[in-house]
Symmetry: C2
Subunit: 362 residues, 2 copies
């Protein structure tokens, strides 16, 4: 049934571990001898409640999430968090700091301006978002309601290698594209959120990790579904949550545990990305525009500098079984997204293919 | 693999057609020879775009949706629509009419009061929501921004058998629990929305059918994800939609087409619900509290009038393979939710079981 599988370098939705898909497929009409699919279960049934609680417990263990944080399973993707964060936190002082290091932090900034004053703590568009600002370059305000940044910039291929120092100002971080790729000190954050469709689960689930003292300051007009306090109180069940995505996340969490946890994921991340960056730095044809110490371990951006050749590369790569290598339209060139589920083997084969392509096109 | 399946009378999430689950299972690691799961596809890829467009076209054909309406695939369930509707429409006149016929229309009313003046067009709590008000009982305001009602009350087992007459005031309708169960004259509505997890697809998808002239009046603070105008312009792809749920909906739409469309669904709805109501009206043990002309074809509420006996019934039914028959905590007793995917056979067997139970417990 499975037979042919391709190497899928999509930026998201992206590859899921084959073992998880196969497990899901094997029980799609009858989960654990219940006689029904997880898709068909009442979200308030004992069996689904235990799936949700196991998934939460698994994620808590994997990420070493302290007890004063809550894990929420929400909907609407990171883009809805762009509004939900200020609709709950902005009233603290009426202003917030935003570090803009790419497309999505820019969108978050634009959205947050509906709800208060947004200060630009950094903006890397001066060098086309090819770098992450250093701590001493950040302009922070000790009276900010929160400090906001995006940990990994999917489009530009950059990744923060440090957690900003903001004093007492809570940090809000969009980790959509690098969550679960390495251990993280959760205690440094106020809120971490992530759309699930890159490293966690199919699209339609947003995971939020929130320090329990932060909610309770929403505006009067904040919808009940965008009220963190309500969602904590109802344990993500104010209404029907995206049950099947939560179940799939549970399978992925178990898969990561079996592979050795986040330390193992970090090791694999280094292995995959080094294969590509080492090749790129020694290539006479391909270049990576990102400054070396800012390079993402999840999204590797590169090009030949020749649009026509780039297009040919993407097309020939696809014929050879390497899919979705076209770069985002705002950057051009190519992008290889290499999340947890991408086998090292897939990256090795891609590098071989790139070497061949280079030889033929020097 | 599938083997044992039970009759699942859950109010939602609820049964899906077995054929759709089996089809999904057969291609879960490799859709249509693409070498990837639908869960893994870029939402902007050609293959996923065609899944989305086919699902839209299928739904448009099935429901005979006129060209001046748009179909949106959103997230957050009906509960997020409770806010999204007023955040986009309330500014027309600052007030709206709400017919409260159960739990969810009450919640919608409470949410909408954050955004304007809500008038009670009807409130059926005087007789514990056991009836639907007649047209002449509705108190409507010709200056209302919109008129709101919930077409089927899952908890109380009532269903509107007519479309309210509201003059030029657009009608907004929550059809979460009876959408796709019969043909509907879409042209009478301004907005129809439905959480997918009852008659359409797994939880995590909200289908909105909206007349194209209605959006564009959102408040300044309306989040971009809750702006119908943006969602129409981006064809539900402002960010990553719940792709797998859209794919599952496409399978369900095809299944309904093959069964004979919404006329066939209506016929089956009558057949299933008549089996239960006819039995209940002649039973010496079980009673249905709902007034005959207001009874739902989707959720059949009943009880013995004795809590202890009700509990025993639910427990013995489960042992016999009839699941999730416990009524909602606010009503008590039992509830059999009999959506499109429930085979008539399942209802026949349930009635047989109820007859037996009655004989043993008179």
């Amino acid at each position: 049934m499975a037979s042919k599988r391709v190497y899928n370098f999509s930026a998201g939705p992206s590859m899921l571990p084959l073992e998880c898909l196969e497990k899901a497929g094997s029980e799609i009409t009858n989960f654990n001898n219940t006689g029904m699919s997880v898709m068909e279960m009442s979200h308030r049934s004992k069996v689904f409640t235990s799936i949700l609680q196991e998934t939460k417990a698994g994620l808590k263990g994997l990420m070493k999430i302290p007890d004063n944080y809550e894990i929420l399973f929400l909907q609407g993707g990171a883009t809805l968090q762009f509004a939900m964060v200020p609709m709950n936190l902005m009233s603290r002082t009426g202003k917030a700091d935003y570090a803009i290091t790419g497309n999505f932090s820019g969108l978050a900034y634009n959205e947050a301006r509906k709800y208060g004053t947004c200060n630009t703590a950094a903006d890397t568009k001066d060098r086309n978002h090819t770098y992450i600002p250093a701590q001493q370059e950040l302009i922070t305000d000790k009276d900010a309601s929160y400090f906001y940044y995006c940990a990994n910039n999917t489009i530009y291929g950059t990744e923060w290698k440090y957690i900003p120092e903001t004093g007492d100002v809570p940090i809000v971080c969009d980790m959509s594209s690098n969550i679960l790729s390495c251990p993280v000190d959760i205690s440094k954050y106020g809120i971490i959120f992530a759309g699930a469709q890159k490293n966690m689960s199919p699209a339609g689930l947003t995971v939020v990790i929130i320090r329990k003292d932060l909610p309770g300051r929403q505006f009067d007009y904040t919808p009940v579904m965008l009220n963190y306090e309500v969602m904590i109180k109802k344990d993500s069940m104010h209404n029907t949550p995206p049950c099947y995505n939560i179940y799939m996340l549970g399978l992925v969490v178990k898969w990561i545990e079996q592979k050795g946890g986040l330390e193992a994921m970090e090791q694999l991340k280094k292995e995959r990305s080094s294969l590509l960056y080492d090749f790129l730095d020694n290539s006479g044809l391909f270049k990576c525009p990102v400054e070396p110490d800012s390079r993402s371990g999840m999204n590797v951006v590169f090009s030949t500098g020749d649009n026509e050749l780039d297009t040919r590369f993407v097309s020939e790569a696809e014929k050879a079984g390497f899919f979705n290598l076209k770069g985002h339209r705002s950057v051009g060139g190519m992008r290889a997204s290499i999340y947890n589920a991408m086998p090292v083997e897939g990256v090795k084969k891609l590098v071989e293919f790139m070497k061949d392509f280079e030889l033929k096109n020097k």
